[in-house]
């Protein structure tokens, strides 16, 4: 068997997940897609095989089922070179304000689950001495906003986890990429009012992730404009910020 480059995409059926899988497959990587509903991933696997003539594996993975994480990693036929976590749940802020079950689901899907699973892979990668970990976080984690702070706080936790992991893992030959996509036109944002010039299509994010992995970039905002927007938002004094409506 020739050893080919391989990538595992957690949350493979999301629009960004599909786009990332395509970008890597196009660059010659074999792909493993993991998601809750394996049957639903079949068409995407067939798409990747037909387009790029690469190997595609499918695996069942539920980000809320943390008890199954160790056996999930153990059962993989081979340890991938790259693992990308795209899982997340936007949820509904208003509901999360009073519904603890919903709030918990948002917090666990965006922080606890992704952090724990990537942490596990980090240990394996460090033992091997190589690998890249990609976490898709959000600009929403850069500062809590009235309109989505439950989601934002979980993403903030995830971003902090990734930056700490990066500092530690880099000494062991393992690279960690934090992706903050900003507005992306996907199923998650359907029906939302997105600001045109700040919005990108999923394939742009997929290509940006591939580039960040290959160039060993630490944090990417996908659209450079976001770096500036978030810099401004982050530096506004709290007294001003709390009066703003967004």
């Amino acid at each position: 068997m020739t050893s080919r480059k391989s990538v595992l995409v957690l949350g493979g059926s999301s629009d960004i997940g599909r786009a990332a899988a395509r970008a890597f497959a196009k660059a010659g990587y074999d792909v493993a897609l993991a998601g809750r509903d394996v049957a639903a991933l079949e068409p995407d696997a067939a798409d990747l095989r037909a387009r790029y003539n690469v190997e595609v594996g499918l695996h069942k993975f539920d980000v809320l089922d943390t008890a199954a994480f160790e056996s999930f990693v153990g059962a993989l036929p081979a340890l991938p070179e790259i693992v990308i976590s795209i899982v997340g749940l936007l949820g509904v802020q208003q509901d999360a304000e009073s519904d603890l079950v919903h709030a918990t689901a948002i917090m666990r899907s965006n922080y606890e689950g992704p952090a724990l699973i990537l942490g596990l892979f980090a240990e394996k990668f460090l033992a091997r001495g190589s690998g890249t970990i990609v976490g898709v976080s959000s600009v929403a984690g850069d500062r809590g906003r009235a309109s989505n702070y439950v989601y934002g706080s979980a993403k903030a936790g995830f971003s902090a986890f990734l930056s700490g992991l990066r500092a530690r893992a880099s000494r062991g030959g393992v690279h960690v990429v934090t992706v903050k996509p900003g507005f992306v036109r996907t199923r998650m944002t359907e029906g939302m009012k997105l600001i045109g010039p700040l919005t990108v299509e999923a394939p742009v994010v997929g290509d940006a992730i591939l580039r960040a992995v290959e160039n060993k970039t630490d944090v990417i905002y996908v659209s450079g404009k976001w770096r500036l927007v978030m810099l401004i938002i982050k530096t506004l004094p709290e007294a001003v910020f709390k009066k703003l409506k967004f």
Binding site: P43, D44, A46, D47, A50, Y52, N53, E190
Partner: protein, 441 residues
């Protein structure tokens, strides 16, 4: 409700827009007055539902590909640009591409689009083997030349009116490179242009760009572009067998004021265009497929050049026999009016595939006009010339022809409507175009 328009941005009308994520959801989305929409590159009202528009671009998966035969099965929302970028480097291209690569498979089938090779290789539908169609009645059927063949031939060129295409199986062309050996011929007037196109019959690709500002002795002066697929040996040392398709770097950011396109700027542009082309005329050289097939794609959102009120494309086909006289008359009227597009496109077509396909053996002329003044009346007059010559207008470009023009041009309409009725007795599938041209009032 959302305001929707085609590429020409005229008309702009209300329709409920849905973006289903599964074929089951596509089925559920169909209700009275529904039409499928691909990438919205039809100019007028073909891809706007009478009440509801179902966008199909989310369905962009390739189902299977056989590199031994070039046979491919795909979802209807895959764009030709995606297909070219993915399979070009593997040595396969679509047999037929229109003047923009940003069209979906579904849209290309529904309009049975023609490329620069129609005169010798036919239209898009010729390379489609079968379709998965969701009819207005609620069935999902596979249609091919042997199975449900009425539905197949009504769907190819049927402007979405037989139902929603979910998937298609088609054949790709094997190519050695993504480069085209191009030969430019300059023609000083319409007769010379038509002679050059006749002589170009043997070329795989041929098209003429007419300077439609030129009048009098220069009427119809044009540049004819002939093309063949280049093989490896023709490429410059070290050149990639497959060129990279760049995203458009230039883009028109805002609607230009109507003053931008005036007689002087257009005349100056055309003079320059003709002279530069004429200088290249004679010899042949190798160019990337992207500028060869898709010259306009290099400027994003170029439809905004025509300003807020949008523009109309008038594309007719005139049967071979009477073509010279009618084309001369049309070009003369357009030149005297002086507000037409930069350039008009003239090309030879062959036989169409579908019952309602646009092509017929003869010449097709495509012109752009900004929406203003008495343009609608003017185009009605041009239509009379087209009808009298036994010609017709392209539905994928149309936003304004009359029922009478349409009915005169498409004699197979009754057969088409009978098939449509059998697939959709309740009449669920309707677009603004079909309301305007087909449906009983």
């Amino acid at each position: 409700m959302t305001l929707v328009s085609g590429w020409g941005r005229f008309p702009v009308v209300d329709s409920d827009v849905l973006r289903p994520r599964s074929f089951a959801a596509v089925g559920e989305a169909v209700s009275a007055g529904t039409i499928a929409r691909g990438n919205g590159r039809a100019y007028g009202d073909a891809a706007i539902g009478a009440a509801r528009t179902v966008t199909m671009t989310g369905f962009d998966r390739v189902r299977s590909f056989d590199p031994a035969t070039g046979r491919i099965r795909l979802e209807a929302g895959v764009l030709l640009s995606d297909l070219i970028d993915t399979f070009g480097p593997r040595g396969f291209l679509p047999f037929v591409v229109p003047g923009t690569r940003f069209v979906s498979i579904g849209g290309a089938i529904a309009a049975d689009v023609h490329g620069k090779n129609h005169h010798c290789e036919g239209g898009f539908g010729r390379y489609v083997d079968s379709l998965l169609l969701r009819t207005g009645q609620g069935e999902v059927i596979e249609a091919s030349r042997d199975e449900n063949s009425d539905a197949f031939f009504a769907t190819v060129g049927g402007m979405g009116l037989t139902g929603i295409i979910l998937e298609a199986t088609m054949r790709l062309r094997r190519v050695e490179t993504g480069w085209i050996r191009e030969r430019v011929i300059s023609a000083s007037d319409l007769d010379a242009a038509m002679r050059a196109l006749e002589a170009g019959d043997a070329a795989t690709y041929s098209v003429a760009w007419i300077d439609c500002v030129a009048r009098g002795r220069d009427l119809g002066r044009s540049l004819i572009y002939l093309g063949e697929h280049a093989d490896r040996g023709e490429l410059a040392e070290g050149a990639d067998a497959f060129p990279v398709g760049k995203d458009s770097r230039l883009s028109v950011p805002v609607d230009l004021p109507s003053i931008a396109l005036n007689r002087i700027s257009v005349r100056a542009f055309n003079e320059l265009y003709y002279r530069m082309g004429a200088r290249r005329a004679g010899g042949s050289h190798v160019v990337s497929l992207y500028p060869y097939f898709f010259p306009l794609d290099s400027v994003g959102d170029w439809n905004r050049i025509y300003g807020k009120r949008g523009f109309l494309q008038h594309q007719c086909v005139i049967p071979q026999a009477g073509a010279r006289a009618v084309l001369g008359e049309i070009l003369d009227r357009v030149a005297r009016r002086g507000d037409a597009s930069f350039l008009a496109v003239l090309k030879k077509l062959g036989q169409g595939n579908g019952i309602l396909s646009f092509p017929l053996p003869g010449y097709t002329l495509a012109l752009d006009f900004p929406v203003k003044g008495d343009i609608l009346n003017f185009l009605d007059e041009i239509d009379r010339l087209v009808v009298a010559a036994g010609g017709r207008l392209y539905l994928a470009k149309d936003a304004r022809q009359s029922r009478a023009t349409f009915e005169a041009g498409y004699p197979a309409l009754q057969r088409f409507n009978a098939i449509r009725k059998s697939l959709d007795p309740a009449g669920n599938i309707r677009s603004k175009l079909s309301q305007r041209l087909f449906d009983e009032v």
